[in-house]
């Protein structure tokens, strides 16, 4: 663990997503204010900050999920591998296929476990049954759920426990081979054991994916992330290596928040 963190610190990091001068409004509410943030490839970036500071809003800007909210307006640029995902003629559906998302509350479809994981492939036009079956297995293994469900793939996903459901949602997200995975408090509704499983999973996924995770738990941020971004009132206050942020934050607000003096 600590080895790989140092490795990240030493090698020049590739930037996967670049946020440039991003502002997000809900009607008159200026929710994200002029945020510039680079997200490193194959690493875990944690977003922390007090409730209502705009973490979810920022996260949802990264895969254009905010487009589905009528009152929401976006300004600025977000580059994915150098290409502006808000550029002219960009299809948000294509963006979302490359930037997947896992929600705070697990939201499996009322379908079988298999169909849940296969959903993204099928809507993407994949017809080949063998390919789908293979990818479902691979994704469930990737989400550390395979052993628990391999004998009941055809039963309803709603019969799974909360933690299993959340891992199913991760598997469902992995199945479409995204490059970036956004997670909005993925473990906040889970017990410590299920949370530990998700965290372990995140650390494994980091080898292949770029992960951005919103969390309210400082410990969780410290455990899983390589870098941490601290948001406050819609602004990005500080961003840096997680070790540095938690030991020697440069801004007073960050220090106050991390030490639990407010938030």
């Amino acid at each position: 663990m600590s080895e790989s963190k140092e490795a990240v610190a030493e090698t020049p990091v590739n930037v996967k997503m670049e946020t440039q001068g991003v502002n997000v409004f809900y009607g008159d509410n200026h929710a994200i204010r002029n945020v510039d943030l680079d997200i490193a490839d194959r690493s875990v970036t944690a977003l922390i900050g007090p409730s209502g500071c705009g973490k979810s809003t920022y996260l949802r800007a990264l895969n254009r999920m905010n487009d589905t909210i009528d009152s929401c307006r976006f300004e600025g640029r977000i580059l994915l591998d150098g290409e502006d995902i808000y550029g002219r003629g960009v299809d948000p559906v294509e963006v979302r296929r490359r930037v997947g998302m896992v929600f705070q509350k697990s939201n499996p479809f009322p379908k079988s476990i298999f169909d849940n994981v296969a959903f993204g492939l099928r809507i993407g036009g994949e017809k080949d049954k063998d390919v789908i079956a293979e990818r479902v297995e691979e994704s469930l293994k990737g989400a550390a759920l395979w052993d628990e469900v391999k004998d009941r793939l055809q039963s309803s996903a709603l019969g799974l426990s909360g933690g299993q459901q959340q891992r199913l949602c991760i598997a469902r997200c992995l199945a479409v081979w995204p490059e970036v995975i956004l997670m909005d408090e993925p473990a906040s509704a889970l017990d410590p054991i299920a949370t530990a499983k998700i965290e372990e999973l995140i650390r494994e996924l980091r080898e292949q994916y770029t992960i951005v995770i919103v969390t309210h738990s400082m410990q969780q941020a410290a455990r899983v992330s390589d870098s941490t971004a601290f948001f406050y009132m819609g602004e990005l206050i500080e961003h840096g290596k997680t070790d540095m942020m938690f030991t020697r934050p440069t801004k007073k607000r960050t220090e106050e928040y991390i030490s639990g003096r407010f938030g």
Partner: protein, 348 residues
């Protein structure tokens, strides 16, 4: 909260060890016999009342059935009835005098009177099926469009307007079908008979579409937004979300709307009475001929027959059969809905 905590502590560590004053709550008074776990009287009264009301509703339906059946069943033993009508002629084709093949005929004023119920049920089924064929796709399609696609401004106008349609008296719709629709349909499709099954079905559809629409729209609206978001985040297009996530999840509700619409359609009287042409023609597949439905027959003829004579009894038999058909179809529909519902909720 705090009080509870203190209260719990009280058992283990009596007040002595704490500097704070702990208010000791008095034990519940126990009356001689009553256990302290008993449901309060008021709740029991309320529950009983609700149960009684529910039973009363069921009893009312049963009584209606009994009263209708009571007028019909004497046909099986009454001599007067047997003199006029043979029971088997009610259901099977017969070669009447002057016909060269067995036929199904409803001709209560003929000599002899001919009471074959089959053409009436064929008429009812034809009109109902045709009306459902039009209303189901239209109602569900409208509901999907309004719930998922229409801008809010459109939804806020269209929804109440369609729901208002459900409130129009059927005699008005019947009049509209009779005067306007029939002429338009004849001019457009070149029907031989001006009033026919198609015109009646269109008229019926005007009352059923709002029923299906309203219920389906509610069902679609109540599909959790989180499922929409899950699908969108996986790269689904809007139509894929609609067809693969929302529609399946809303299916039990939509099916309930269809079942209700069917009940409405088969029981609807005024529109079919006015717009169907009312000729009891035994014709299974040609929808451009006039038809006479069970309901229209009862409505048109019951007022003009003598109480207790053969015609009277047969009309009540029609009522009993209609009741039974509707009842069975409703139960089948409910079972289907329950199965759909089960598939959606957790269970292996």
């Amino acid at each position: 909260m705090t009080e509870q905590v203190l209260d719990a502590g009280e058992h283990h560590a009596p007040a002595a060890n704490s500097g704070r004053r702990i208010t000791v709550r008095p034990h519940r008074a126990r009356s001689g016999l009553a256990s302290s776990f008993k449901t309060p009287l008021w709740h029991r009264v309320a529950e009983r009342t609700i149960a009684v009301l529910a039973l009363a509703a069921i009893a009312a339906i049963a009584l209606i059935f009994i009263f209708i059946a009571r007028e019909a069943v004497p046909m099986f033993w009454e001599v007067e009835f047997a003199e006029e009508v043979e029971i088997r002629d009610l259901f099977f084709a017969k070669e009447w005098n002057g016909y060269d093949e067995p036929v199904f005929i409803w001709q209560p004023v003929g000599e002899p009177a001919k009471f074959n119920v089959v053409p009436l049920f064929v008429g009812s089924l034809k009109v109902t099926l045709l009306a459902m064929l039009m209303s189901v796709p239209l109602g569900i399609g409208c509901a999907m469009f309004i719930a998922l696609y229409a801008p809010r401004a459109v939804r806020e106008v269209v929804k109440p307007v369609i729901e208002l349609l459900a409130g129009i008296p059927s005699v008005v719709l019947g009049f509209f079908a009779l005067m306007v629709l029939a002429s338009w349909a004849q001019a457009t499709f070149g029907f031989h008979f001006r009033l026919n099954a198609v015109v009646a079905a269109i008229g019926l559809a005007l009352t059923i579409v709002p029923v299906i629409f309203t219920i389906a729209e509610d069902a679609i609206q109540s599909v959790p937004q989180t499922l929409n978001e899950a699908a969108l985040a996986l790269g689904a297009r809007k139509y894929q979300v609609a067809l693969r996530v929302v529609l399946p999840a809303a299916l039990p509700g939509i099916a309930a709307g269809v079942v209700l619409g069917f009940g409405r359609a088969i029981g609807e009287t005024m529109i079919v009475l006015m717009a169907s042409g009312n000729a009891a023609i035994m014709e299974l597949f040609d929808f451009t001929t006039s038809v006479r439905t069970v309901t229209a027959t009862i409505a048109a003829e019951l007022g003009e027959v003598a109480q207790g004579d053969a015609h009277w009894r047969v009309l009540f038999l029609l009522g009993v059969m209609l009741f039974a058909v509707t009842f069975v179809l409703n139960i089948v529909g409910d079972l289907a809905i329950q199965r759909l519902q089960k598939k959606l909720t957790a269970e292996s």
